[in-house]
Symmetry: C2
Subunit: 328 residues, 2 copies
């Protein structure tokens, strides 16, 4: 295992210390491993809390800031945070208008966020679960579909709605609308190594890739021989488009995510292929996002997320955002 | 070789097509492989042109935009662009105030940019060469020190100076001042594979790392056993600080760069260690930048760049920038 770490047991705590040093305008509650906006709680604004296992950076801490999340809870690598962390985050960001929990659909996360919502019983909490991964119906850590790339889009768009001063019910409705109109699929060229495990989560032969990979290296749909970028684009676009389905004339945001170990030059090349195929299917890409935003440590590969948008979602996407990882 | 590509011969052209699709607000001259600002040339503004081998993304194309570069020339992977590309870029961005070439110190780049400056003889051109890598004096592709991380800082700070309407001589002087006050050193945990070569540029044993690595995988200072993040931070901070030298009381910008295959969680952890060591040496970190900005394909590792700043450089650093990869 070749990693820039000290002790595998301290990776998350030490990474949070480094995050704090790099981003002094964001606060870190180190006891609870909660990253939160320096100006939290904002009176009258719905607070947005997310979180999950670490190892997917910049998700979620990198999305804390104006126009996006108010707080993020960091679990151990690929492991849900515990309810106490989520309660602390909920209390930190509650400005009197209630708090929205954005939860990726993994059994541990769901259970712990539910418990946290009960424990924070004096604070109105709504939860939105993301489950956009079309790869598999149930999975190693999931009942139902996994929550993956659309989570980034939910955090951005719901964050903008909250910033406008909308009510908890409205912000939750927007978040659910994003999830319902979003679909994703990923492909892995290599595995990744959780520091505490010390060896790759799974093995992939030198001439193989895994289509439908989960962000923790969970099994996907199938293993196939390594293919060209154009072929891989087809393997991602076809099932994603067919699932919702996205139809000729639809306007979408296209998000091509790097899994952590894929260089940007390959990601741009892939995006070129995907963009051609989307155009060929009569979809209009109104906005795009290309880069490593929801990663799996050093895994090589990518995932495609499409989001069907209307004018309202697009204008919330375009609204200002100022976080470590997303800014405009 | 596991890469998201089609034909190794077409990687750069296809990646530029994808870059164009992802960033419709930037223009691409595909014949000349030049990425340039949509509003170029800007009358009365000094034009900033950089470029070099591809494989270091987001450098340089990702830094084209308001407040930074006006144009970037993309060579083949790890290979200098040719003079014709640089001439085309120079002509595209010349708004009558002259053009600054920002050139990393590699023999091919130096020679080709010099020839381009001669060929564009009706346009006043100044060149600034970056040579901040303290690892080695001469190198595989270099007479003198290699230009690495400080190039990003030169492009940002000189870009801000140009945006203020300063003269070509002034912008060049600022760029040189940044280079003179910047020093870098990198470490590789793994090698990287140039698509056209099809196998790793160099070999590193499972328990080894290379200190002083070049951004093309050129040999560094020494190979040492894999060390902890704290130890690696020391191996980077000590030689960088000793070289300028940076002295107790100095104010710096600290830039911790990911080499392409290193996950962000490790980069933040490393930055935490580096930040402690800089504080221990009495250096004040006024600003930091942590992320993969000048990469070596999928190489795992990082590089540290320090830049000693005064109020002027700091205010130019803080000035607005709006590019694909850097925005505030």
């Amino acid at each position: 295992m070749k990693k820039l770490i000290n002790d595998p047991a301290n990776v998350v705590a030490e990474a949070l210390a480094g995050f704090q040093a790099a981003h002094p305008d964001v606060r870190v509650d180190h006891d609870n491993r909660v990253v939160y906006r320096a100006d939290a709680p904002r009176l009258g604004k719905v607070g947005l809390v997310s979180g999950g296992g670490s190892g997917h950076e910049p998700l979620h801490a990198g999305f804390v800031g104006a126009g996006m999340l108010d707080a993020a809870c960091a679990g151990e690598i690929f492991t849900s945070p515990v309810p106490d962390q989520m309660v602390a985050a909920t209390q930190l960001v509650n400005g009197g208008a209630g708090v929205l929990h954005i939860v990726k659909n993994y059994t541990g996360d769901i259970m712990n966020f539910e418990m946290a919502a009960e424990l924070a019983d004096d604070i109105p909490v709504e939860s939105v679960v993301t489950n956009d991964d079309v790869a598999v119906e149930d999975s190693l850590y999931t009942a139902g579909r996994r929550g993956v790339g659309v989570t980034v889009l939910v955090e951005k768009i719901a964050g903008a709605a909250a910033e406008e001063g909308r009510s908890l019910a409205d912000v939750a409705a927007i978040a659910r609308r994003v999830n319902e109109n979003g679909r994703s699929l990923g492909v892995a060229l290599t595995s990744c190594t959780v520091p505490a495990a010390g060896r790759p989560t799974f093995e992939l032969a030198d001439d193989e890739m895994e289509v439908g990979i989960g962000i923790h290296g969970e099994p996907g749909r199938r293993r196939v021989p390594l293919a060209t970028a154009a072929e891989i684009a087809g393997m991602l676009v076809e099932p994603v488009v067919a699932d919702l389905p996205y139809e000729r004339g639809d306007t979408v945001i296209a998000f091509l995510n790097g899994m952590g170990g894929t260089p940007l030059i390959e990601l741009y090349l892939m995006y070129g292929e995907i963009s051609k195929q989307l155009a060929g299917r009569g979809l209009t890409v109104a906005r795009s996002l290309v880069g490593p935003y929801i990663t799996s440590l050093e895994m090589a590969g990518c995932s495609l997320t499409l989001l069907r948008v209307d004018d309202e979602l697009l204008s919330l996407w375009d609204a200002p955002v100022r976080t470590a990882a997303l800014r405009w």
